[in-house]
Symmetry: C2
Subunit: 307 residues, 2 copies
Amino acid sequence: MGGTPPDLESLRLLTLVAELGSLGQAAERMRISQPAASKRLTMLERRLGLTLVDRSSRGSALTTEGKAVCQWSDRVLSEMESLMAGVAALRADQDDDLRLASSMTLAEHFVPRWIGALRQRSPDVRVSLRVTNSEQAAALAAGGQIGVGFIEAPTVPPGLCSRQVGADRLVVVVAPDHPWVRRRRPIEPAELARTPLIVREPGSGTRETLERILAGIDVEPARPLMVLDSNAAMRAAVAAGVGPAVLSVITVREDLAEGRVREVPVAGVNLNRRLRAVWARGSRPAGAAELLLGIASQRLPDVDTAA
Amino acid sequence: MGGTPPDLESLRLLTLVAELGSLGQAAERMRISQPAASKRLTMLERRLGLTLVDRSSRGSALTTEGKAVCQWSDRVLSEMESLMAGVAALRADQDDDLRLASSMTLAEHFVPRWIGALRQRSPDVRVSLRVTNSEQAAALAAGGQIGVGFIEAPTVPPGLCSRQVGADRLVVVVAPDHPWVRRRRPIEPAELARTPLIVREPGSGTRETLERILAGIDVEPARPLMVLDSNAAMRAAVAAGVGPAVLSVITVREDLAEGRVREVPVAGVNLNRRLRAVWARGSRPAGAAELLLGIASQRLPDVDTAA
DNA sequence: CCCGCCCATAACCGCAGATTATTACGTCAT
DNA sequence: ATGACGTAATAATCTGCGGTTATGGGCGGG
């Protein structure tokens, strides 16, 4: 009764049944035969141990439970679509209409979604994406190799125009059993600077922002406890109790919500930062690039920037 | 070259390789043989058209592209985990330690995640969930049939204690080609009240909140244009141009971000509302219920409540 | 130098999931 | 009534994905 995760095709089928109100039509939309769809759905219900649809002789409607599962499925499928959009962009490395580069954080959470939205509206544009760090992305934008770059650096490098596409905040995180969790008052920046931390590699926007903050303090910063080149690795290291780290709240939102790591307040420094789209001064984005910028800034991501 | 979506097992394998640094160890963790893992990964790379891992004779490390895909995969897998947690809770309808009921909106976006976090920490608690509307959930809580209910009603029904677990805002949304999109000034509440709208069924928190707002205006409200009992159906109807609707910003965030629907500002009414956990007065949540409440309110969801 | 760990390839096989053909059930129009 | 058209379920069959075991080939450390 452990419950094996269902495959995405079945979930997609469920959403189609919800949308079209008929199992056969859903089957047609998926380019499979009607019996196949029927069996799949039965199989899905057996796997989940739930009755998802009411079959009547003039159509099928979702049960209450079916609706709930359908909504959760939508989210899974949506993430998968983002993944596919990202992959398509990673793959098309030439012969493309719009070249992008992005820092890790932005690439992880936003860029694939924007690309997906762009492709929905103009499906024929070829988009390519390079995932690097903020420094590299800015350099590529300045050099004209890409149309638009997405960076999270504290300042806009010279020679670039920019537009804000989101907001972010750095947080100090530790494992739930770390002594800092029990503190009653925020820690002081000086103490943070003296503590060996898990940090990203030089050139990353996160690292650079951190250094800029600690540079303002009259304390010799401690040597890094560990240098990692991916946010996921850092999250795992923090949760495993290796030590404290400073990370974008976006990347650890889930870990925080589920209690795998804890946030430690810091006194008196502004850890907010802006996420920006950048492009070479003089070459105003046009066509696909313009459209993408519109999508990206049309609705700024909701981020908790409050203390 | 359309690109078939990969199966979740392969994505999981990728994340395990990233975590463990070795294909063989990842295979072991997944309870499959090493050759199977090797073949799967090769297959995945062929499917996506990308080189994801650098195989060396003393381990495997992800390429830059591999890291990006791995992060996107994490999100897909995380949503699937939520789905499974939700399904497990829907299924266990008796013989359980903690009974929950939730409105649609909360059930869609938050409750499965909280349940998942709860199960991670104490895997042996049996949780059950009923998905209804706010009115029903509150009634179940008041009647003692459930331990905790999650509602989005504007007021706390009598006889219940509550605790805020999130914030939300209602928005007026229309299709991108609706005349309201072109307006330069916010629409007046009276005009909204006079317009036939797509609404949820009576008893839903969304409907109730809307009626409470429109009741404050000295205008006879128009009859509904269409009554639907699921947020997804409303989103589809709005996007299809059926008419305007008033929905939780949470449910339409993606549609807004990707331009499928547009938000129409409303003048002079407060559309914010609180998402609450409720329980019967007198029976303070204990045990699993207490833990879940802690998880839910430990970190309030980041929601854009600003105008 | 050989033994360990890593990964890839080969040959085999079982089962999930597709197909077509057929049955059964309701609704509606004639 | 009755047949036409929609719905979905069942039966029989087959293909191929994804698993297994067995084996071979680099590379590093004791």
